[in-house]
């Protein structure tokens, strides 16, 4: 039986694609963004979050069969249909489980459920080839246009990420590029200009800007880890508007 390593499943997701969606967070990631707001999804092993609050501990990471996940996400089918929503695969990096994800994606396609895939794209093209026939929209994260920073800070290959993005766009797939705005990493003028030019060059049409938040800091604490962004304040409204101005002349821009 095809098993999926799933961190958790989130119903009523309203910031991860069109309509009302259910997001399946796959467990395991090949990058290590220091600002990550879902740090429990990085490791492939089950992770326990030890909370002090009345809600207690929570275990994230279970091996679930395709049918089990399907059954859970289909509970909200009527909401998807009414809202034009569907299911989103996120993570972690879902593309690291491309075969399992493909099996689930096929089942969703059979049931007429729209699928979005949220990926950083730092995987061999083979993974995309498996999933492409079943994916309606890619939410494609691009974190920096600097290959050096991509390698040293995040631990991945920018050229692979851009190559995959280019191929998806060429293949005519619907792609929403998502840029997390991380203070001190990519919100300076030079980084923004570089990101913008890079996105123009690959032919992106839409850009979603995801402002940094530190809502994930509780998870670090619950995992007994130090969060490097613990003391970093969210970007102000004026700053966000200013950043948006870099992109809006060339793309359809949305701040999520």
């Amino acid at each position: 039986m095809m098993m999926l390593n799933v961190s958790h499943i989130q119903h009523f997701s309203v910031g991860d694609g069109d309509g009302i969606r259910t997001t399946v967070f796959f467990k395991g990631c090949n990058l290590h963004c220091p600002w990550c707001h879902n740090p429990e999804t990085i490791s492939q092993a089950p992770t326990t979050l030890h909370y002090k609050s009345p809600l207690g501990d929570e275990l994230r990471g279970r091996l679930l069969s395709v049918e089990e996940v399907l059954c859970e996400v289909l509970k909200d089918k009527e909401y998807y249909e009414e809202s034009g929503g569907g299911v989103t695969f996120s993570g972690g990096e879902v593309m690291l489980q491309a075969e399992g994800a493909q099996a689930l994606a096929k089942r969703l396609r059979e049931r007429g459920v729209s699928l979005a895939v949220d990926t950083a794209g730092c995987v061999p093209w083979h993974a995309f080839a498996l999933l492409n026939p079943y994916v309606d929209t890619y939410l494609y994260d691009l974190k920096t246009a600097s290959a050096r920073r991509y390698a040293t800070v995040i631990g991945g290959s920018l050229s692979l990420v851009l190559e995959n993005l280019r191929r998806l766009l060429t293949a005519g797939k619907q792609v929403r590029v998502r840029v997390p705005l991380i203070p001190g990493f990519n919100t300076d003028s030079r980084s923004l200009v570089a990101l913008r030019d890079c996105l123009r060059e690959v032919g992106a049409q839409t850009v979603d800007l995801l402002p940094f938040h530190r809502l994930g800091s509780g998870k670090y604490e619950a995992m007994g880890l130090a969060y490097p962004y613990r003391a970093v304040k969210p970007l102000g409204e004026a700053r966000l508007a200013h950043i948006k101005d870099y992109f809006s002349p060339y793309f359809t821009v949305k701040i999520e």
Binding site: V14, T22, K75, E82
Partner: protein, 703 residues
């Protein structure tokens, strides 16, 4: 500052000298007619109540009518005498069908006050020789004549005040003209129609009635609105100003239900421009008091639903969204004529009511979770000091099925006891003695039949609402018993009973297992099936009983905040709830236990068949203010549509205000299901650290 804001400021100023003494004015009527038959005597009291006080007109009034005129300074002796006499003659109250009523305003607007008087005279002529009916009709006539004089007094007062310092003569002339017109015949303009409705409502307030509904204002006022707008004498904005001016006078501690939208018999949605005006006026007012309900059907246009959600998102929380399809199906079960069903509205909070055709409503509370203790303790509740029935030794209950049968036996007995108690109270008064001559004139067909509203005059009989409390507590408890006792065999019923008696002290491990069992509100059939059973079983039980005049005992899944007070005297329950803790609220899952997202909450909540809850339901949900803006609003709209398609009956949403977030920081255990969502991330608010909570709080300030 708008006119209504100024009006509210003016109303907040200190009341006139003396005390609020409606009974004094009633007393004036009683005093001089003590020898008359009771119907006549009551009518005299009302006549004096309507005609003796000097009307008060606010400087910022456009539509007049308030109860300030009932302040008066009298000697202590007079005050005492008045209170004593009026008290002895007595009045009906909530349990005995006095208020929670939606008057037949459509008819009153069609014929006007002179027309009502004409109908009463005709009826008197028709029943000449029938002494009883004539006495009833004479009493009704006297009160309407009193009301006619009250309107005249308002008009004359406005006329007399022209030129008075700081008063606007133009507004006073407008008021005087509208009142004069109402004396001559039916209202001709929107303002006159609204004035007549509001003065009627004022008269009911003067009589001491609470929770009187204004009902389907967008329907009965629409012909006037459309005519004036077509004639160019009224604008949309002008109508909103008049409505705001009226709503501002609703006391903030009252629950005056206003119902907008809804289908007609052909299934065509009746939302019109006035529905939007009313929504806007309530939103502008931004005060509790007007309790706005919107009847939503599949045919309700998106722009109307969107406007409703935007109004809710301002933090106002109104309108409550009512599923027309479910409510109509529920009312149909009770034998109303098809065309009347479509004219239902709500009285009080959510109680469904056939507008102007049934006596005032009465409600009671049924605290179902109390009944567990009787099973565990051989028919005795030590915590509440009450008795149930003895369903035998726990060792004799060897299956979940058998346990459920015991619980049904207990509940069945409880329902019988409830109904007997209600009937004793409700029938305990002499219906012919406690007459309602004025109210009867606003209910079909009291005038035609020559009978009092509570004595055969109304087209349909009185109904009673039994509010079933604790569906979450009940379902969670049953699921916990099934899981822990009968599946896992982790404890016997006897051990569970002992744990409950000790309020789980020394049984912490068992309590943890009970708490870990599936909980209502997470889309889990294992527990949801008990919510289905709960409504099915209890509604079938209440259906076996009737009110004094043959009406139904309807069930509701709503009880305001009674779940808190009721919980105080209920023992620990098998769901892990401790003694004295609140029961679950209305039809919602237990606070903090629905942790799987709102779609799963609603998937559970839509499992029971609410067409069996003819009284109504309340499902409270808190959502982030961001959900009410931009494209998220469309998602919210789809959520509501799906929820209703799946059979949900009501949805009362609130945008999580700063106040809620602050409360969650102070008492995290009560806000376990409050979720923060951003792209690709969600977490429970109470789990965030303090400075991160403040990030959210600061963002909410801007929204």
């Amino acid at each position: 500052m708008t006119l209504s804001t100024s009006l509210r400021r003016e109303m907040e100023k200190a009341p006139p000298k003396g005390s609020y003494m409606p009974h004094y004015f009633r007393y004036l009527g009683y005093r001089d007619h003590l020898g008359e038959p009771i119907e006549q005597l009551r009518a005299e009291g009302i006549y004096a109540l309507f005609t003796e006080p000097v009307p008060h007109i606010y400087r910022h009034d456009l539509i007049v009518g308030n109860t300030r005129c009932l302040y008066t300074a009298q000697s202590p002796l007079v005050e005492q005498q008045a209170a004593s006499l009026v008290g002895r003659i007595g009045l009906r109250h909530f349990g005995t069908n006095a208020d929670h009523f939606a008057p037949h305003y459509q008819h009153v607007l069609e014929v006007g006050v002179p027309g009502l008087i004409g109908e009463l005279r005709q009826s008197l002529a028709r029943y000449a020789g029938d002494e009883g009916k004539c006495r009833t009709l004479q009493a009704m006539l006297l009160t309407v004549e009193g009301f006619f004089q009250m309107i005249r007094h308002y008009g004359e007062q406005a006329e007399a005040m022209k030129g008075r310092k700081r008063y606007d003569s133009e507004r006073l002339a407008f008021i005087a003209e509208n009142c004069r017109a109402l004396l001559a015949g039916p209202p001709k303009t929107f303002a006159q129609a609204l004035q007549l409705v509001w003065l009627s409502h004022t008269a009911f307030m003067m009589e001491g009635r609470y929770a009187m509904a204004l009902g389907r204002m967008d329907q009965y006022l629409y012909p006037f609105y459309a005519r004036d707008v077509a004639a160019g004498t009224l604008s949309r904005e002008g109508a909103i100003v008049l409505l705001e001016n009226t709503f501002a006078k609703i006391p903030t501690n009252d629950v005056v239900n206003i119902c907008i939208g809804g289908d007609d018999e052909q299934g065509t949605c009746q939302v019109n421009e006035l529905s939007f005006c009313i929504l806007q006026a309530v939103k502008n007012g931004n005060v509790p008091g007007p309790n706005l309900s919107a009847r939503i059907s599949p045919g309700t246009p998106d722009d109307f639903l969107r406007a409703c959600l935007q109004s809710i998102g301002t933090g106002l929380g109104y309108p409550a969204l009512m599923n027309d399809t479910v409510n109509i199906a529920a009312l149909r079960r009770y034998g109303y004529e098809e065309r009347d069903v479509y004219h239902y509205c709500m009285v009080g909070c959510i109680e469904n009511f056939i507008t102007g055709m049934q006596p005032p409503w009465s409600d009671g509370r049924f605290d179902a979770p109390r009944f567990f203790e009787y099973i565990f303790n051989r028919g005795v509740s030590e915590v509440s000091g009450t008795l149930g029935v003895d369903t035998g030794a726990l060792s004799g209950i060897t299956s979940m099925r058998a346990f459920l049968r015991c619980l049904e036996k207990q509940l069945s007995h409880g329902v019988a006891e409830y109904c007997a108690t209600f009937r004793a109270y409700n029938d305990g008064i002499n219906q012919a003695y406690y007459t309602e001559p004025f109210l009867s004139c606003f209910c079909y067909d009291c005038i035609g039949r020559g009978l009092d509203i509570n004595n055969g005059g109304s087209k349909y009989p009185s109904v009673h609402g039994a509010a079933l409390m604790g569906v979450g507590t009940m379902s969670d408890s049953l699921a916990a018993i099934e899981q822990v006792v009968f599946i896992d065999r982790a404890a016997t019923l006897t051990e569970l009973g002992e744990a409950l008696r000790c309020n789980f002290e020394g049984y912490e491990a068992l309590r943890a297992k009970l708490l870990a069992a599936p909980k209502y509100g997470n889309g889990d059939e294992f527990v949801d099936k008990y919510a289905v059973w709960f409504l099915d079983f209890l509604s079938s039980q209440f259906d076996q009983y009737k009110t004094r005049d043959g009406g139904g005992i309807y069930v509701a899944m709503a009880a305001n905040t009674s779940n808190i007070s009721a919980g105080k005297c209920i023992a620990a329950t098998p769901d892990g709830r401790l003694r004295g803790e609140p029961l679950s609220d209305a039809a919602s899952p237990t606070y903090g236990r629905d942790k799987n997202g709102i779609t799963q909450t609603l998937n559970s909540v839509t499992r029971p068949d609410y067409t069996k809850a003819a009284c109504g339901t309340v499902v409270n949900q808190k959502l982030s203010p961001a959900m009410f803006c931009g494209e998220k609003l469309d998602k919210l709209m789809a959520l509501v549509r799906t929820y209703f398609k799946k059979g949900g009956q009501e949805l009362q949403m609130n945008a999580t205000s700063r106040k809620v977030l602050l409360a969650a920081m102070a008492e995290p255990e009560k806000y376990g299901s409050l979720v923060v969502r951003v792209s690709g991330f969600s977490d429970y608010y109470v789990r965030l650290s303090r400075d991160v909570q403040l990030d959210i709080l600061n963002r909410t300030q801007h929204e």
